[in-house]
């Protein structure tokens, strides 16, 4: 084992990474959800409600919306994850001892995150009620319902089904695994078995060898994407609200970036076992920090920054945005450009390394 440095590094490296990531980066309870405010009431009472919501730490007032459609639009584009809508008669009704309604719109595409937010908002409502009722004690109530009624409207995933949120994530996950593990293994296997040695003394060029090694996996990736989308749609009722064309086009960038990672691993590993370990090493932070399982909003700054280096982070945002929220190409353009950049960097770098290692 002293001679097998790679294994030792893996055995020490993986637990350390896991410990650090789980310990510091992963919070199941999401705080500081960006929230838009559409306050038609513009009164002492409405500002008080907004302030109480912000005081829970679950929400941060990020934007002001000038209309209801704008509030929805801000959530659609991912600018905010929630919006509080306070109607014009909010304060007036309260003063008359009538029940006042406010609406909280929540991006529920991630049920974990939204459930916390919903619970927090409802708690604010209840506290407010107790406060008001205490102040009014003695005065008869003219209504059966509590004074402040925060109605929650979960968008995109009204039943808060986790399967709907998980399916797009699974696509990203499966593609990552296939492209990274299978590609690196298949190249390393050829080196291990000597078939690569036999190939490089033939007239086919290094570029041709490489294309031959990776082209089939692009096809495999598209078959996987189609299979998961189809099953997800028909078995788990995952809605496909946006353009499939965008999904398929962006997937090419994601596949390319991951093939680059796979090739890179193949240039480091000498044996198939090492390439397995290597893939796992890359894979783990990918799963944990990309937002696949744990909401990125809940992570500390550093962890979130690290997550920005993974193609999966952007790909998940695009998939969830387009599939669940019906975002169009322009909405996901920033993520697409980042994905393009990562694909070019990873793939370009790995191709160069791969070509050098062949000789």
């Amino acid at each position: 084992m002293r001679r097998d440095r790679a294994t030792v590094a893996m055995m020490l490296g993986i637990p350390v990474i896991q410990l650090l990531v789980f310990g510091f980066a992963i919070r199941m309870d999401v705080r500081h959800l960006p929230m838009a405010v559409y306050d038609e009431s513009r009164t002492q009472e409405s500002r008080d409600l907004i302030q109480k919501l912000a005081a829970t730490d679950n929400f941060v007032v990020a934007r002001q919306a000038a209309s209801y459609p704008e509030a929805i639009r801000l959530i659609d584009t991912g600018a905010v994850r929630a919006a509080i809508v306070i109607p014009v008669d909010y304060a007036r009704r309260l003063k008359r001892g009538r029940s006042s309604m406010a609406q909280l719109l929540v991006d529920a595409s991630d049920p974990n995150t939204s459930q916390n937010a919903i619970a927090a908002a409802q708690l604010v409502g209840q506290r407010k009620n107790i406060e008001i009722l205490a102040a009014l004690s003695g005065t008869p109530l003219r209504t059966e319902t509590p004074p402040v009624d925060i109605r929650v409207r979960p968008l995109y995933n009204p039943a808060l089904k986790s399967s709907i949120f998980i399916v797009p994530g699974i696509i990203g996950m499966i593609l990552s695994i296939t492209m990274m593990i299978i590609t690196s293994m298949s190249v390393v296997r050829e080196r291990e078995q000597g078939t690569l040695e036999q190939l490089i003394v033939t007239p086919i060029t290094r570029g041709e060898i490489m294309i031959g090694k990776i082209a089939p996996y692009v096809l495999v990736g598209y078959v996987q994407l189609t299979a998961v989308l189809t099953l997800g749609h028909f078995i788990f009722d995952v809605p496909i609200r946006g353009s499939l064309l965008v999904v398929y086009a962006v997937t090419f960038l994601f596949i390319t970036a991951n093939l680059g990672l796979g090739l890179f691993i193949s240039t480091l590993a000498k044996t198939q076992a090492q390439s397995m370990q290597g893939s796992y090493f890359f894979f783990l932070p990918n799963v944990l920090l990309s937002g696949f399982m744990f909401p990125r909003e809940g992570m500390p700054h550093v962890a979130r920054e690290i997550g920005l280096l993974f193609p999966l982070t952007y790909y998940l945002q695009i998939l969830r945005g387009v599939i669940l929220k019906g975002e169009n190409f322009l909405d996901v353009l920033p993520q697409t450009l980042m994905l393009l950049l990562l694909a070019l960097v990873f793939f370009g770098f790995s191709v160069q390394r791969f070509q050098k290692r062949l000789g």
Binding site: Q193, G194, T195, E197, Q198, L199, I200, V201, T202, P203, I204, T205, G359
Partner: protein, 250 residues
């Protein structure tokens, strides 16, 4: 004895090649010539520079200095062009174990760009190389001897004038070795130049000429008899080999 006349143009020309890896000199000023149709042996203990020399001739490695040409192509200046003119059979079985005999041959026919003629070439290779197994049998399940002849068949599909065989008989039983050498001799008689490395000194007698390498230097080159006499009388090639190796170890 060589079939070709001594005045025939050499098919392989090596002139003072040197290859250094960092501070180690793997090949140190080696020169020799090989004529068409020769079975030419490259002998030497491990680490003597055999593999480095062959890799340079196959265009896989650039020499630090010196020139070399194979089948009329300057391998230093145009290393990629030589690849369609040579066949190469590696020590490790380099074919796809999960493909059948026929699929491997078909694949290599494609790799060498045999479009229209691949079918007849594959049939020829199976017959001439005595690949005596069902064409649909998976290569990974073949015996050592048939594996070796299948690898040779793949290396010969495109009729290369020069073929490199790296330790071809390692791990093959005596009967299969004898058949293999008969095939090699037949190919040489038809004009194909065979360049072979080996550890087996009893096989050295089968070479028309051979080069003896030790620590990257060329110790002797010529017919087996010439090489023997250059080291002094009475010693067999095996004795010379062991002596060289012991001297290095000391």
């Amino acid at each position: 004895m060589p079939e070709s006349s001594p005045e025939a143009e050499p098919v392989v020309l090596v002139r003072s090649i040197v290859r250094r890896f960092g501070r180690i000199t793997a090949v140190d000023d080696v020169s020799f010539e090989i004529r068409p149709g020769e079975i030419f042996g490259i002998l030497g203990p491990n680490g003597s520079g055999k593999t480095t020399t062959i890799r340079i001739l196959c265009g896989l490695l650039q020499p630090t200095s010196g020139t070399a040409s194979v089948a009329g192509i300057d391998v230093v200046r145009d290393p990629d062009a030589v690849k369609s003119r040579i066949g190469y059979m590696s020590q490790a079985f380099g074919l796809y174990r999960d493909l059948s005999i026929q699929e491997n041959l078909r694949f290599y026919a494609g790799v060498y760009g045999l479009e229209g003629t691949w079918r007849e070439r594959v049939d020829w290779a199976i017959r001439a190389m005595h690949v005596t197994a069902a064409p649909t049998q998976l290569a990974g399940t073949l015996s050592g001897g048939i594996k070796q002849r299948l690898a040779l068949a793949c290396a010969l599909l495109h009729r290369p004038p020069v073929v490199f065989l790296d330790e071809p008989t390692a791990g093959v039983d005596p009967a299969a070795r004898r058949l293999f050498w008969r095939i090699i001799r037949g190919l040489a008689d038809e004009g194909t130049t065979m360049i072979v490395t080996t550890h087996y000194m009893d096989e050295a007698e089968k070479f028309d000429r051979l080069a003896f390498l030790s620590q990257g230097r060329l110790k002797a080159v010529g017919t087996p008899a010439e090489v023997k006499s250059s080291f002094g009388t009475g010693q067999s090639l095996e004795d010379i080999f062991v002596t060289l190796q012991e001297r290095e170890g000391a």
